[in-house]
Structure formats: structure tokens, C-alpha cells
């Protein structure tokens, strides 16, 4: 496993992850999931974390999907599915999120 992938892998979260309580792990996972949902959702992409723990299934609005191993590879794969680069600083996306549903 590469260092990039490790950030999102169980062992790669390092000692802090190994020593974390179940509640802390749940909080971290839920927070990460919320962040990914908001970023990917802005581009019409949904994701599901597969049981492997560091692997994600990404799906776009037309049903196109891809499996990605490691959070570092999510954004490039999401860009291909979305047909545009994922830009967390995009002003239009920030405006739409700030204005709410």
C-alpha cells in the first residue's frame, strides 16, 4: 500500500487510530463521510465505502461508476466521472452550498 493510500486505510491512520475508542473512530468516519458527501455531491457523485475500509464505490448521475482504493485517488477518479476537475474552491459551488437547498 502506498503512503498516499495509507491516510484512509485502517493501519495508515497511525497510532492515533489504533488507540482511538470506538466512539472516536465512529466520529472520525462520520465526519469524513460528511465531508466527502458534500464535496462529491456538489458534482453529482455519490459514494459508498466498501467493507475493505479504504475502498470507495463512486457513482455519477448517469449510473457510471468506479471503484477507488485510497482517498488520495478519489478526486482524480471523481473528476473523470464528473467530467470536470473537483475544485473545493469553486465559487459557484461554494455559493450554492451557502445558499442551501
Amino acid at each position: 500500500m502506498c503512503r498516499g493510500c495509507e491516510v484512509d486505510s485502517g493501519p495508515g491512520r497511525g497510532e492515533i487510530w489504533a488507540n482511538a475508542t470506538q466512539d472516536e473512530k465512529a466520529f472520525q468516519r462520520n465526519s469524513q463521510s460528511a465531508t466527502m458527501t458534500r464535496i462529491l455531491g456538489a458534482y453529482g457523485i455519490t459514494f459508498r465505502e466498501l467493507s475493505a475500509g479504504d475502498t470507495f464505490l463512486l457513482t455519477n448521475r448517469t449510473g457510471g461508476s468506479t471503484i477507488v482504493a485510497g482517498i488520495h485517488h478519489v478526486w482524480a477518479s471523481a473528476a473523470k466521472l464528473a467530467g470536470t476537475e473537483i475544485n473545493v474552491l469553486d465559487n459557484h459551488i461554494l455559493l450554492s452550498l451557502e445558499e442551501g437547498p
Partner: protein, 331 residues
Amino acid sequence: MTVTGSLTRPLIILTGDLGSGKTSGLPFLAEQLGSQMPYFVVNEVGASDRFVGAFGIPRSRLSLLPGGCVCCVKPEELIALLNDLVERPHSEFDSLIVETSGLADPATILQFLSSQLKLTHQLKIKSLVYFLDAGSDRDAGYLESQDLTSLAVADVCVIAKTDLVSQETCDALVEAVSAANPTVDIFQQRREGDKVVVGVIRTGEMGRATRPLPTLATGHAGAADHSRVGVLNFELPFGTSWLALSTWLIALLHTPEGGVLRVKAAIPYSRGWVTLNGVGTIVFPPDSSDFSHGHERPLGTLVVIGNGLSQDHMLRSLRAFVSSDITTMHA
């Protein structure tokens, strides 16, 4: 080759003016930065290796790159050398220290190193050290354009040759450096008799707000080639999810033409602090330190360093994707 986390070694990059004392301070600074058995890569614009041996650096842990600056003339040679070195066993050295020529631009070096996938997997940039020559003829309290752009991406500043200037001059330089980048750790290097002594002057405060860059010394304003390099600071609420933040940071570092060179964060949580460190498109696994905050719930800090960054965009994005309670740090 299989790459695992255990193979990662810290990389320390030294920059600073020609003759600012980088080579003479190498072994002492390595010790201060926690490296027990560093390997030294020394780049010289000139071609002499005579000086290096004189400062007690063992030949078995030394490679020279003479005859050109690594940031513009010899980047491929540096990359080839580093690729070779990371294949060597940990028993040979525990960290890499790259001393650049006095002409090198640290932002450029960071950029091309971060584009090397293998190296970013096997080396973790621990510190970018900038040597500031207190004995040069800069006006007291003023920094030059190269100082400012180098300090913007530095973690450590060594004010060298403080034995050659008055205490007032030294204090003024410390204040100027601290104003240019409040997060930087400031050391001094001075000669006491036959010895070179390196000691801490001030520890950088991740929690201090960035101030406007100090005024350039008269006559140097036109030389600010990297004047868009800036440092953004944000306050993170106690208990901010480090995993959510690292996920956002990875997305940020993948943002096309985002201009981000480095990110670092310190996040307090119930058992201590979590630190994140990223360069290029890589955010490294977090480090942690366990201790009790007692009844206090301190704020954490996120520092983003790069070219042409917008504080407003960055803050809005952090609030939208990580936590709506994140704020800009105020001076």
C-alpha cells in the same frame, strides 16, 4: 518494490544566502531537529567540496552536488540522487538533509519534489530551514525580498552569525522574521570560541495570526519574484475531525492550479493534539501527542502556504466542507 509507511524518512531542506552559515551549522542543526544519523546532500553553485569536510560531516553520509543550483540547473540530478538514497537501508541513515545552494528558491524545490511520486511516498518533508545571515549588510529590522519569500514556506529560521551583531539587531531580526511568518521556529547560530553553537530563540506559534508582510528594504522591492507566496491561518474548533480535515486537504491539494505548496495543522482533541502535514498532493498520516488539556479546550490551527491564495475562498470552503465553526485567525 513494495512501499510501506515504515520506509518513510524525514527530509530537511536548508536554504539561505551564500555564506550564511548553512554548512557550518549542519551537524548541530541536525541534532536540534532530532536527527541522530542524518545523510547530507550538499549542493554548491561552485564546485568545491573542501569546506564540507571541515565541518565534521562524515564522508560515508555525504553526497555532493557541485556546479549548479538544484532549483534551476540540477533538479534532475537531485531527484536521481534522492531516488537512489531512499533505496538504502535505515541502518545507514535515519533522515536526509539537503543543503541547497545560496541561490535556491525553496518554493521551487518544494514544487518539483512534490511532483515525484516515489519520493513523496518515501520521504516526509519534516522541516524547511531558512538561514538568515545576521552579519550581512541588510538594514536592521528589515528583510529582503528573498528572505520574505523563503520565510513564507519555512518551518525553521536560523539567524546565523549573531555573534557578529548587536543584541538590538538580533532582536529586530527576530521580530521581523516572526512578523513575516509567525509559525516559524527561530534558532540562532553563533560562534563561541572555536565552537559553533545552535540554540532556540523562539518557538513558532501555530496559533498566531499572520500579519501583513513587513516592508521591504529600500531598493529591493522590485526583486520580489515570488511575492504572491502567502501564509493563511485559520482557527479550528476543539475536536475538529482530523480525518475530515485531511480529506478536505487532499481535495484541496488536488485542486487544479490551486497554488498550495504546503499545509500543516494542529488539532486539539480529548487526549492531546493531532498534527497533519501535507505537500504536493500528499497529506501524510497524522502524528499525535497525548497529554491532557485539563479543563481547557484550546483552538487548533490550520496553516496553508502557497501562491495567490484567497483567504476568503479558503475559509468558505472549510466552512462548507469541514466545519462551519472554523474561523480566520485575527491578529
